[in-house]
C-alpha cells in the first residue's frame, strides 16, 4: 500500500461547490495571515500599509468564500466555524501559502507566484455558472490585479536593485518555487466542476502563468530556479509542518472559549 502522500485523494464529504469554495477560501485565509504577520515589521512604513491592504483584501475574499462554503454545505458552519474549528488535516489550502513569511524577498517571491495565479483563476471564475462564486471572483480579481502589480514592482526593484537584494530575491524564489506545481494540479473535484462550468481547471492556467512570471523575472534580471518540486498535497489536507503552528496560534483564543460571541 502507498502512504497517503502518494495515494489518490479520498472523495470529499462536502458538496462539490462547498469543497471548492473552501479550497480557495483557505488559500486566501492562510496567505492573509502570513501577510498580516508583517504589519509593524515591514521594511518601511509605506510598506506596512501596503501589505496590510493586501492582507485585508485576501481576508475579505476568505470570509466570502468560507461563508459560501458553509452555506452550501448546509451543516450550520459559518465562516468562523470553518476558520477556527477545523484541524490542519481539514484545511485544503495549497502549501505555498502556508510557508513562513521569511524575509521580504521570500514574501515578494510568493506574492508574485500566487497573485499571478490567483488573478488568472479569478478572471475565469468570474464567468462561473455559479453566481455567488462568479460575484466573489469578479470583485476579487480587481483587488488581485493590484497585488500582482505590487509583487511585480518589488520583484523588479529587488532583482535589479543591488547585488545583495538580487541574491535575496533569488533565494526567495528558490524557497517558494518547489511549491509552484501545486497551483496547477487538477484533481477529480476540479475536473467535475470545470466540466459543469462552475470551477476552473487549474492546469489550463499554466501556460499563461509561465509567460507572465517569466516576463517579470526576465525584466528583473532573474531566472527561474532549478529546483525539485515539493511533494504537494495541500488540497488533500497534507501540509507542511508549518500550518499546524499557524493554526495553533490563530485558533487558540477562539477554541479556549467554545461557543461564545466575540
Amino acid at each position: 500500500m502507498r502512504s497517503p502522500f502518494f495515494a489518490t485523494p479520498p472523495a470529499t464529504t462536502m458538496p462539490d461547490a462547498a469543497a471548492y469554495a473552501l479550497r480557495l477560501g483557505d488559500d486566501a485565509l492562510v496567505l492573509s495571515h502570513r501577510l498580516a504577520e508583517w504589519v509593524a515589521h515591514a521594511p518601511e512604513l509605506e510598506e506596512d500599509v501596503a501589505l496590510a491592504n493586501i492582507s485585508l483584501d485576501l481576508l475579505g475574499q476568505a470570509r466570502a468564500l468560507l461563508a459560501y462554503a458553509g452555506a452550501v454545505e448546509g451543516a450550520g458552519r459559518d465562516e468562523d466555524a470553518l476558520a477556527y474549528l477545523r484541524d490542519d488535516r481539514a484545511f485544503t489550502n495549497m502549501q505555498l501559502v502556508e510557508l513562513p513569511r521569511g524575509d521580504f524577498g521570500l514574501t515578494i517571491a510568493r506574492q508574485l507566484l500566487f497573485s499571478t495565479y490567483q488573478r488568472m483563476l479569478y478572471a475565469r471564475l468570474a464567468a462561473s455558472s455559479d453566481e455567488t462564486l462568479a460575484g466573489i471572483a469578479a470583485k476579487a480579481e480587481k483587488e488581485v490585479a493590484y497585488h500582482v502589480d505590487h509583487a511585480t514592482q518589488w520583484t523588479l526593484r529587488l532583482g535589479e536593485g543591488t547585488a545583495g537584494s538580487h541574491a535575496r530575491m533569488r533565494a526567495g524564489l528558490v524557497a517558494v518555487w518547489p511549491y509552484a506545481d501545486e497551483l496547477f494540479e487538477a484533481d477529480p473535484l476540479t475536473d467535475r466542476l470545470a466540466a459543469e462550468g462552475v470551477g476552473v481547471d487549474p492546469s489550463c492556467l499554466r501556460g499563461e502563468w509561465d509567460a507572465a512570471v517569466d516576463g517579470v523575472l526576465r525584466e528583473a534580471t532573474l531566472e527561474r530556479p532549478e529546483v525539485r518540486p515539493a511533494a504537494g498535497g495541500g488540497r488533500r489536507g497534507l501540509h507542511t509542518e508549518h500550518l499546524g503552528h499557524l493554526l495553533a496560534e490563530m485558533q487558540s483564543l477562539h477554541r479556549a472559549h467554545p461557543g461564545v460571541t466575540w
Binding site: 506596512d48 496590510a52 526593484r157 543591488t162 466575540w262
Partner: protein, 308 residues
Amino acid sequence: MLQLEFDERVAADDRVEPRDWMPDAYRSTLIRQIAQHAHSEIIGMQPEGNWITRAPSLKRKAILIAKVQDEAGHGLYLYSAAETLGVDRDELVELLLAGRQKYSSIFNYPTLTWADIGAIGWLVDGAAITNQVPLCRCSYGPYARAMVRICKEESFHQRQGFEILYTLGHGTPGQKAMAQDAVDRWWWPSLMMFGPPDAASTHTGQSTAWKIKRFGNDELRQRFVDMTVPQADALGLALPDDGIAWNAERGHYDFTEPDYAELTAVIEGNGPCNAERIAVRRAAHEDGAWVREAAAAYAAKRAGREAA
C-alpha cells in the same frame, strides 16, 4: 517685525504655514511634539499587532488589521507634517531608536489578553481623541490638518474597542472577567496619558500661548473622566477607582489622580515593555535596510538609463 507678525497671526487664530517666519523655539517645540506623536502611532502598532494573529473571529481580525494599518498611516501623516518644519523623517526615526525622542508611555504596557484590544480602543483611543480634537485647531497648519484627518479616521477605533468590551461584558463569566481585568490594568495608564498635572508640567504654559495646546492637562483629563464614567456603566464594567463620584457643585466627576511617579518611571524607560518596543522597531528598521537600498539603487539605475 517678524516676531510681531507671528504674534499677531497666532493671536488672530490664523494659521502659521511652513514658509512663514516662526520663532526657533516654536519650531523646535512643534518638531518635538509632532515627532513624539508620530512615534507613538508607530510604536502603538506593536501592542495591538500582538493580537492580529490570534483575533478570535475573522471580523475582529479584519477590524484589527485595518486599525493597526491606520496607525501606520497616521504616523505617516504626522511625519509628513513634521517634515514641513525642515527635518527629515530619517532623522526623527534615528532619534526615536536612540532614545532621544519619546513616544506615548502608554505603549510600554503589554497586551496580555484579547480584552486589552477592547480596552485600548475604548480607553487609550478615547484619551487620545480627547487630546487630539483640540489639536485640529492648533496654530500650525500642517499639524492641524493632519489631526483633522486622523480624528476623522480614528472615530471608528474607539467604537470598535467599546464594542469588543461590550460583547465581552455581556458574554460568559470568563469573558466578563477578562474585560474587567483589562479595564483595571488600562485605566490608570490612560489617565496618565494627559501628562502630569499642569502645576508640574514643563511645556504647557508656552505651548498654550502659542496655541499649539488649547487646554491644560488637568482640564482634558477631567473631560475624559466625565465622558468615560457613564460609558463604563453602559458596559457593565467597573472603573478601578472608589473615588469616582459625581460632584454636583463642580458639575464634574471627582476621581483619584493616577500615581505620576509611575508615569515618570515609565517615561524614563522603566515600563514593562520599553526595551522590547524599541528593539522591535529597530529590528524592523535594520531588517528593512537592504530593501530600501535596493529600491533606491533601482530608481537611480532607471533614472540613469532614461537620461542616457
